[in-house]
Symmetry: D2
Subunit: 85 residues, 4 copies
DNA sequence: CACACGGCTTGCTAGC
DNA sequence: GCTAGCAAGCCGTGTG
């Protein structure tokens, strides 16, 4: 059975390696995009934009505008109740 | 100066929008790759692989093997000193 | 030198253990406080408060009010430029 | 109804404030413990200990020893299959 | 001395 | 409802 086990092991090993390499490929894709994105932020910063705000804008645009509005209304309500306005 | 200001505002606005759209494009790329990657993990899990371990393997392979070995040696040293072996 | 080494090892080991136990003690303190805090959020939620907003309020109160105001002004400026108001 | 509303508002406001202050109290407790803990790490580092490893040790000790052993066995299996040993 | 980088911590989301 | 995984923000570190 040694041969067979060896065979199965090789299959398993190759299968495992295959999956991991696919994962790593997508990891590389993510990194590539993240680097490009970072370059845009760097450029924006050099031009005087506030990147922290830029990030907030990007996050806001991801969300449903209605949900954002509702959350802000609730937040304002709480802030007002606490004298934070 | 209203016209000029209006003009500059439009430039600024378009510039800002342009940068944000580039950022969002890369964001979409990241998401696409992340989704594909997640699908591989899902597939692996369905096949009986331990995805938590898989993630550790991927993380290990990212690092310098020598550095990993050294860290593990130090960790073992500490564990032994503490009777954790 | 075995005895001496053994001695030093014991010292080291006890010192290591001592530090770790102090760290763990503070870890327990953190957990205790975190649990109490979570209970307040749970209670608030049961009473109908929006805990997500509550967390934002707590975060806002941590910050310098002037800095918050300035950031919000900048954010509004960007949002307006992008037609997000 | 203005008076009554004002009354209820005040109740709400005080209730809200009360909860937030309790949350902030626990937040302060967490910070206090975290600062003390950080000081131990700083001290350890000054004495030549590897704080990254120390953190791993602390994390390991939190977990069930059997679960740790099992995970490490699985990890080794995967690493061996991939020629990472 | 500012700036980018990596690690750590925290908050959010999705899946069991 | 809870826990694990994910992404964002923060902070301390090292470098130009």
């Amino acid at each position: 059975m040694t041969a067979k086990e060896g065979h199965n092991s090789r299959i398993i090993r190759e299968h495992l390696e295959d999956m991991i390499e696919r994962i790593e490929g997508f990891e590389a894709d993510k990194k590539y995009a993240a680097d490009k994105q970072k370059a845009v932020y760097t450029e924006a910063k050099a031009l005087g934009y506030d990147t922290k705000i830029l990030r907030k804008i990007v996050a806001l645009r991801k969300r449903d505008p209605g949900a954002v509005a509702e959350e802000e209304a609730t937040l304002d309500m709480y802030r007002e109740a606490l004298g934070m306005l």
